[in-house]
Amino acid sequence: DATQGTSSDCKPCPCPAGATCAVVPKVREVVCTNCPAGTTGKRCELCDDGFFGDPLGQNGPVRTCRACKCSDNIDPNAVGNCNRETGECLKYKCKACSCSRLGTVDRQTSCSQVTGQCQCLPNVAERDCSACQPGFFNLQSGNGCERCSCHPIGSTN
C-alpha cells in the first residue's frame, strides 16, 4: 500500500524474476500474474497443463517442468494427461492387452494398466508373454518354457 507513506509500503513481488504480481482484495493475498513460460500458480510453483515438475523446489530439489511422458501412452490432443507435480499419468490411451494365453499365469488375459505387461510363466518373455527367453523352448506346454539343454560342444553358441 503506497498510500501510507512509510518506507515499507511497496515490497518486491514474491515471484520469479520478471513476473508481476497483484494483491487480491478482501483476502489481501499476493498472486503472481505473469509467471515465466511453462509455469503457473500463485507463486509460479506449478507447471502448465501437460507438463510436470517442481519449478520452485517446494517438495525437494528444483525440477524444471517437463512434458508428460507416460511411456508414450498418452494422446497429445488430450488435456490433463498427468499430475502437474509428480508426472503420474492420469489419462492412458488404452490399448488391448492381447496377452498370449499360452504364456501367462493361469492363462490370464489382463495386464498392467501402466506398462501393459502381461503376467508371464517362468522363462517366458515379451510384454504379451508370446515368446520364450533365449535358451528356452516349448511355449506350447502351457507351463512356461523349458531349458534347451543343448550340448555346449555340439552347438554354435
Binding site: A22, N34, G80
Partner: protein, 283 residues
C-alpha cells in the same frame, strides 16, 4: 488491477481460457480491440478448459480439471462459485441454453454428456454410449438442438440430438481428424468445426447436409466460437486467438496474449441475448 475477478465492460466480447485464467477481448463490430484485452478471472492453481456465457444473467461458466468442477462468476464482479463439484472426472466442453436455463457438458473420462439447471440442480446424463473423446459441445436454443464432437482417433464424428438426448444422429464422420472446436451460427443455420487433424475449418447445414470448406492449412485449433461473418478459434501452436472471415476464407486477425501458453475454450459474450424462444423456455 484486481487479479481474481474483473468487471466486463459493456459491449460484446470474446472470452477465452488460458491456463488458470479467463481473458476477454472486446469486439468492435467483428474486429478484436486487442488493446482492450484484460484478465476477467484469475484462478492461478486451476486448469480451465471449457468456457460458456449466459447472456441473461451475464455470468461466465467454466469447466476445470485439477479439482474437476463447473463454476460460475458474474461479469459484473463477484466471487467464483462452484455449481457442480462432484462426480466429474474430466469436464471439457460446456454450453448454455439461455432460454431453457440449462447447461450441458462433456466429460472425456466418463465419456458422457450431462445436463443440469444453471444452479446445478436437476442434473441428468443424457448421452452415455458410443463416446470416446467427447470435447466440444454447443447449443442451438431456438431450435432445441444440441451438437457435439468426439475426436476419437479411430472414428471421429460430429453428432446432434434434441436437448433431452433424443433423436441422436451422426452428422459428419468422413474426412475428419481431430474435430476439437464447434460453433453454430443461427443466422445462416450453419454448423462449423475446426479440425486439428485435417487442419481445416469446415461448415455444414445440419438440415441439408451440404458441406463446405472455409479455410485449410490452419495449425492446431482447440476452441471455437463465431459472431456474424467471423469465426474465432484458439490455436495450441500459435498460443493465439485467430479470426477468420467465413465468407472469404481469409484469416483476418490474430490476438496473441503476452503470456505464451496454451489457449483452451473460447466463447462469445453477447451484449444482448440473441432473440428467440423455445419449448423449454415456455414449459
Amino acid at each position: 488491477p484486481r487479479p481474481d475477478v474483473d468487471f466486463l465492460p459493456p459491449g460484446t466480447h470474446l472470452l477465452f481460457a488460458q491456463s488458470g485464467r479467463i481473458e476477454h477481448v472486446p469486439l468492435e463490430g467483428h474486429d478484436m480491440k486487442k488493446a482492450g484485452a484484460r484478465t476477467v478471472l484469475h484462478l492461478p492453481e486451476k486448469v480451465i478448459i471449457g468456457v460458456a456465457y449466459d447472456c441473461v444473467e451475464k455470468m461466465i461458466y467454466w469447466t476445470e480439471i485439477t479439482s474437476p468442477s463447473i463454476s460460475k462468476a458474474s461479469t459484473q464482479g463477484g466471487e467464483p462459485t462452484a455449481v457442480i463439484d462432484s462426480d466429474l472426472n474430466s469436464p471439457e466442453g460446456i454450453a448454455i441454453d439461455h432460454l431453457g436455463r440449462t447447461m450441458f457438458w462433456t466429460d472425456s473420462v466418463k465419456d458422457n454428456i450431462e445436463v443440469a439447471s444453471l444452479d446445478g440442480s436437476q442434473r441428468r446424463v443424457i448421452i452415455d454410449s458410443d463416446l470416446v473423446n467427447p470435447r466440444a459441445i454447443i447449443t442451438d436454443p431456438p431450435n432445441g438442438n444440441l451438437y457435439w464432437a468426439d475426436w476419437n482417433r479411430d472414428a471421429p464424428k460430429i453428432e446432434t440430438s434434441h436437448m433431452d438426448g433424443s433423436n441422436r444422429r451422426v452428422l459428419v464422420k468422413d474426412d475428419l481428424g481431430l474435430p476439437n472446436g464447434l460453433t453454430y451460427d443461427s443466422q445462416s443455420s450453419l454448423l462449423c468445426w475446426a479440425d486439428a487433424g485435417t487442419h481445416k475449418v469446415e461448415c455444414m447445414s445440419p438440415s441439408r447436409g451440404d458441406r463446405s470448406k472455409v479455410v485449410e492449412g490452419i495449425q492446431y485449433p482447440f476452441g471455437m466460437t463465431s459472431l456474424g461473418k467471423n469465426i474465432y478459434y484458439t490455436d495450441w501452436r500459435r498460443d493465439a486467438v485467430v479470426a477468420v472471415d467465413r465468407y472469404s476464407g481469409k484469416e483476418s486477425d490474430e490476438f496473441q496474449p503476452q503470456k505464451r501458453t496454451k489457449l483452451y475454450g473460447i466463447a462469445t459474450a453477447y451484449a444482448v441475448c440473441p432473440s428467440g424462444q423455445n419449448y423449454c423456455a415456455v414449459n
